[in-house]
Amino acid sequence: MRFRLLFAGIAAAILATVLACSKAGTGNEILVGEYGSLTGGIATFGISTRDGSQQAFDEINQAGGVLGKKIRMLVEDDQSKPEEVGTIVTKLINQRHVVAMLGHVASSYSLAAAPICQANKVPMITPSSTNPRVTQIGDYIFRVCFMDNFQGAVMAKFAADTLKAKKVAILVDIRNDYSVGLQAVFREQFKRRGGTIVAEQSFSQGDSDFHAQLTQIKSTNPDAIYVPGYYTEVGTVAHQAKELGLMAPLLGGDGWDSPKLWEIGGEALNGCYFSNHYSTDDPSPIVQKFVQDYKKRYNNQLPDALAALAYDAAKILADAMTRAGSTDGGKVRDAIAATKDYQGVTGTITIGSDRNAVKPAKILKVENGKYLLVETIAPEAVKL
């Protein structure tokens, strides 16, 4: 018995000594938490998001900050591991005392973090999680992008009406809620437009060998293949599909949007299409200014949709704080919920009563390393 108590004491002592003291922000700063995957299989998402938000906050700080204070963004990496999300979000809220949270790109991770933010009454804005369930977690959770029940319909419409495809095969990432949700919507919408789904194959995020699935798909002779996954797998799929002589174009969603997509898939991706939140081709002055500033800041890199959405999310958060006149969680939450007709890089953003944004989607075509804007589809257009 004695040794157990002794051990409890020693343990507590060890822990006390190795812990960093909580660094609360200095009085002159507003601390905002950002959690993302900076390393691992979806690293470019996390890096783009962080860079987009950082650019927004820097611009705001240069213009004087919010409520007279500068905003400091504290970034934590979950290493593409959803089980790490809980720990880092708790740390940001409890140890670093952030007043608001930005993140995550991937819906699974947002779904892990949202309950924690909701329970602690810390407003959370996800820049690009498209799974509908994320904002259903609670009234402190918001998003500034469209959802998958819209995105799936967009590609179904494009495939049926523009590409005139009749038979489509689906290759879904079954370990990924985003992918599963998206293909379910696509399938339903495509069938309602008179198309048929000729094959359904699956893979898991992290897989690298798709020969078996692609061989099965090839035998059904589809007009197109819907692959709503993330860029690493999609690029590899494209590469192997061409190798097997599968010529049908690949279709996908915003999970394709990464500068690495072309690096991985190469010429195999020519003639493929994906739905996205914005396009660098968009002539609107807001978009072009953002693109130019981003290129100047970040080594001539073009901002992808995640960076653009993160930029908008950060700006909307700051705007909400200004409108609320305070950084109190409840007041900021109400201000975010009241966001109306905000002119963002990714479109005009109004936060609805379900805490989601309603925006049009862009269809991009992959051509020789560039993603070209082909069509814009508004929410009204997909109604059947």
């Binding site: 390393t39 897989d207 690298s208 699935q213 061989t215 099965q216 590899t236 190798e243 002589g245 690096e263």
Partner: protein
């Protein structure tokens, strides 16, 4: 029918890779009775060495001589790497209990994986094209030059290995050591050198597999060795651990069944199938297909 044949080709090419890796496991187990957990990671290092070598040679057109150079380079580098592992980590504990050996192997494997993540970066990398791409149609089945290369090179290496083990003195010594280490020592065989050679040869084969997989599926990452290594180990057990032709048979069987399950059933069970086979083998026929039952003497 053509789809089935196509899947068979896919399976053979994947299976050849498993076979190459399984050979390393089986040889090391034969001489040391040790499951070298780190073997899968040697395969990964081979792929990365191949990657960096082929990047060096890039700029020029993908060509056959370049490909061979990359392959040999990776094999040589990993042979040395295997020697290092044996010398630094396994030799000091060779006389210790089996448990200690097992834990050491796990530790080495973890170390290589995590060090690789630090050194190479955790994000996946993509193998550049090594040899010119070509396609052939045979009986309605499409064979890519990559698949043919994998199958042909693997078989060449396996035949070379068989020749080495059966016809050379060192090979004979290896067989003696796997039969009975102490007796071999008494017969004047330098067991330390033979064990080192075994590691070197096994590692070289794993490296070859790494380069081949880089050609087939361009994606490589620091943790690729874990799953491939485990499945190759299952292949070695399936064929009869310690048995060289068994490892080849096991590899091809595992590769083909994996492809068939993914193609005709569902990809969810892709990894589970290997473990399922392992459990069945160990329960029903633990000596494997080609293995012999050895009685444990007290």
């Amino acid at each position: 029918m053509t789809t089935f044949l196509q899947q068979l080709v896919n399976g053979l090419s994947l299976g050849s890779i498993y076979a190459l890796i399984a050979l390393g496991y089986t040889m090391v187990y034969g001489v040391l009775r040790l499951i070298n957990f780190a073997h899968g990671d040697v395969y990964m290092v081979g792929a990365y060495v191949g990657y960096y070598l082929s990047r060096r040679l890039q700029g020029k057109e993908p060509s056959l001589p370049n490909a061979i150079l990359v392959m040999l380079g990776a094999m040589a580098a990993c042979a040395i790497f295997g020697l290092l592992i044996e010398r630094l980590a396994y030799r000091p504990v060779r006389r210790a209990s089996r448990l200690t050996l097992l834990i050491t192997a796990i530790g080495v494997s973890l170390f290589i994986e995590n060090a690789a993540q630090l050194v190479f970066g955790p994000d996946p990398k993509f193998f550049p094209s090594l040899a010119p791409h070509a396609e052939f149609m045979v009986a309605g089945v499409r064979l890519t030059s990559e698949q043919i290369t994998v199958i042909v090179v693997s078989f060449m290496l396996m035949i070379l290995l068989r020749f080495f083990i059966q016809k050379t003195r060192t090979g004979k010594a290896m067989r003696a050591v796997s039969f009975n280490l102490d007796a071999a020592k008494l017969m004047g065989i330098s067991t330390d050198r033979i064990i080192a050679t075994t590691f070197a040869v096994g590692s070289a084969l794993a490296a070859a597999a790494g380069v081949l997989i880089g050609m087939q599926i361009p994606k490589i990452d620091p943790l690729m060795g874990i799953l491939y290594g485990l499945k190759a180990f299952v292949a070695a057990v399936l064929g009869g651990i310690g048995n060289v032709p068994g490892a080849v048979l096991g590899g091809l069987l595992i590769g083909t069944s994996e492809v068939m399950v993914v193609g005709y059933l569902s990809s969810t069970y892709r990894d589970a199938i290997a473990f399922g086979i392992l459990i069945l083998v160990l329960i029903l026929r633990p000596q494997g297909i080609l293995g012999r039952v050895t009685k444990e003497k007290v």
